[in-house]
């Protein structure tokens, strides 16, 4: 398959979700599974609108995010494994732990640019978060599909740029007083993340 074949990336996405085996295997009969690591850091961007209907405010949110994917290339283009990361949201520190896949939609030529897609799905843990007195933060499910570019020679250490959507759920039980008898907050972080890192 040529890199950046006109419909190649679309086909690749379909492969990723439906039938990643087929002809890829056929092209590499001597393929042996290899270890793969992709470690990235970056920013996650979002917005939040809050307040009563008469006094709504919208604020931008930018927070730091880092993650490392460790897996095995089970096919030349597909690696499956696990992803562990950390997300510094403004009011909570979550550690997403998930299963992940990386699929090379277009493998780069020598010193070229390759395109890959990623999908991580798992649970964001609140282990590292330290609550203020009487707050209790718990984590929740998360999912993060994305696309990225590999820069460098194929089969060697690559520089990686990626962009991904991230949906992370979380919940907070808040302290009570003479006025409030119950205060529970459900949080859904909808973020776009821009990351850079290395992969080999």
């Amino acid at each position: 398959m040529k890199p950046f074949n006109k419909n190649g990336w679309l086909t690749g996405l379909l492969f990723l979700y439906f039938c990643p085996a087929s002809n890829v295997e056929a092209q590499a009969p001597a393929f042996r599974p290899t270890f793969m690591n992709m470690t990235e850091v970056g920013l996650s961007l979002g917005r939040v609108t809050s307040g009563s209907q008469w006094a709504q405010t919208t604020q931008n949110r930018t927070s730091f995010t880092a993650q490392t994917f460790n897996g095995v290339r089970i096919w030349p283009r597909l690696a499956v494994g696990g992803t562990v990361g950390i997300d510094w949201y403004l009011a909570s520190l979550l550690m997403p732990v998930s299963a992940g896949v990386r699929y090379d939609v277009a493998v780069q030529s020598k010193k070229g640019v390759g395109l890959f897609t990623s999908l991580d799905a798992g649970y964001g843990l609140a282990w590292l978060h330290r609550d203020l007195p009487n707050y209790k933060t718990s984590g929740g499910l998360y999912v993060s599909p994305g696309v990225g570019l590999r820069l460098g020679q194929p089969g060697r250490g690559n520089f990686v740029l990626s962009v991904a959507y991230k949906r992370q759920e979380s919940a907070v039980v808040k302290p009570l007083d003479n006025f409030y008898l119950k205060r529970d907050e459900n949080r859904i972080y909808n973020r776009i993340t821009f990351r850079m890192g290395v992969a080999f």
Binding site: V48, V172, P175, D177, Y180, Y189, N190, I192
Partner: protein, 430 residues
């Protein structure tokens, strides 16, 4: 071809950004107050015995002779036959408008009814009736954060009806970054076994109250504390309470308990110690000031166990058990502090110490050595805010514990493994 891909890569973030809004929704329940007015006659005619009903908004607990009384805030008192703690049976509901506290001497139940003190004869549980009433003794008070006041000239009472409102609001996802500071309700309890003995000279028999009590009995007097003062009632003839001394205490008064011949009065900023050698006229000995945190206290001999809790409406940033040497009541000394989670009411039946940890449940501790208080068991999974260790009786040691979700009874014969005897569930409206 490449440009197509780049275009998609550029568009993707933009498409996502339109959906990239954090969504944080807080579901909260709060009290809404509505002003209401009653005539004195309406209140005074409202006392009556009714069929038992389920607990909805339980307040203080009191027990005597195997019977358990649970206050239904502002409504009355649930009377429960608890002679078999494994199988408590509701007996009756005594409707007393504006009731929050109670105490029993012999067969007479004293209860507040807004501005009045009511004495009820409970010798026949099928026919509980009002036998006396001291009128217009409590000028104002507070239930669940809502104030009431009585105008003795117009004989009108202004109160606030409480409704529970639940709403969902969108937040900015940032709550939890700044600790909240608020006012502090104080709460205290005592060594109930000791208090029972010391406070009940024969032949009179008193009941045992919980750690939040504003009523207590000593000698021939009933002591009641309001927000600013202590009102004494002479109950030499139990069925005929007579108004006694009124002593100004200052503001923020929360609880009272007698220990030997001393009265310990809890306020939001400290603990007042009164010498009660002359029960008709207690005299202030000292004020034990403390940091602005909630500070329930229990006493055993020369040791006071003080729990300091922060957050919620307590302020401060402390959650700990302080063991204090009170040999010299004029000069209490801290012996040691132990970290806790969020301690509320507590009770001691030496050497057993029980601490309610609010949402974190109940802790059983060994307080034999003041410098080395050991945790024996931690029961989680329920809300605990007040506890009464009843001591040994009928071959077991019974513990009453009330929380927002019910009244739990345990056997603490083995304090390392409390045995649940029964639970009376609460049917809360929120």
């Amino acid at each position: 071809m490449k440009s197509n891909v780049l275009l998609v890569l550029l568009l993707l973030p933009l498409v996502c950004l339109t959906a990239c809004n954090d969504t944080c929704r807080e579901t909260r329940t709060f009290r809404q107050f509505t002003p209401v007015t009653f005539t004195a006659e309406q209140i005074r005619n409202g006392v009556k015995q009714e069929a038992p009903r389920s607990l909805v908004n339980p307040g203080k607990i009191y027990t005597k002779d195997g019977y358990l009384l649970i206050n239904e805030v502002k409504e009355g008192i649930h009377l429960i036959d608890n002679r078999d703690p494994a199988n408590p049976r509701p007996v009756a509901f005594i409707r007393i408008p504006g009731n929050g506290d109670m105490a029993i001497r012999n067969n007479i139940l004293y209860a507040d009814s807004y501005m009045d003190l009511v004495a009820l004869d409970i010798s026949k549980l099928t026919d509980i009736k009002e036998v006396n009433r001291v009128q217009n003794v409590f000028p104002n008070g507070q239930f669940e954060g809502g104030w009431w006041s009585f105008n003795a000239n117009t004989l009108m009472l202004s109160d606030q009806r409480v409704n529970y409102v639940t709403e969902t609001v969108e937040t900015n996802c940032e709550d939890g970054m700044i600790a909240r500071q608020n006012a502090c309700p104080n709460c205290m309890s005592t060594d109930f076994a000791n208090r029972f003995v010391s406070a009940a000279p024969a032949p009179n028999t008193n009941g045992v109250g919980g750690s939040m009590a504003r009523f207590t009995l000593y000698d021939t007097y009933l002591y009641t504390v309001g927000q600013q003062d202590m009102q004494l009632f002479n109950i030499q003839v139990p069925a005929e309470p007579r108004r006694g001394e009124r002593i100004n205490l200052g503001g923020g008064i929360e609880t009272i308990f007698p220990y030997k011949d001393k009265l310990f009065i809890g306020s939001t900023t400290g603990m007042l110690i009164y010498d009660n050698t002359n029960p008709a006229k207690p005299v202030r000995m000292s004020v034990f000031q403390h940091a602005r945190v909630c500070d329930p206290v229990v006493v055993h001999d020369n040791i006071a166990y003080v729990t300091l809790r922060s957050g919620t409406n307590c302020g401060g940033n402390l959650n700990q058990l302080d063991v204090v040497d009170i040999k010299d009541l004029y000069n209490p000394k801290l012996l040691k502090s132990y970290p806790m989670q969020n301690p509320h009411g507590l009770g001691v039946d030496f050497p057993n110490l029980f601490i309610c940890e609010g949402q974190s449940g109940l802790k059983s501790l060994d307080a034999r050595n003041a410098l080395d208080v050991k945790q024996l068991e931690h029961l989680a999974g329920m809300n605990a805010y007040d506890v009464i260790p009843m001591g040994a009786a009928a071959g077991r040691k019974q513990l009453l514990m009330i929380g927002k979700d019910g009244l739990y009874q345990y056997d603490y014969t083995n304090p390392q493994q409390l045995q649940l005897l029964s639970k009376i569930a609460v049917n809360r409206p929120f």
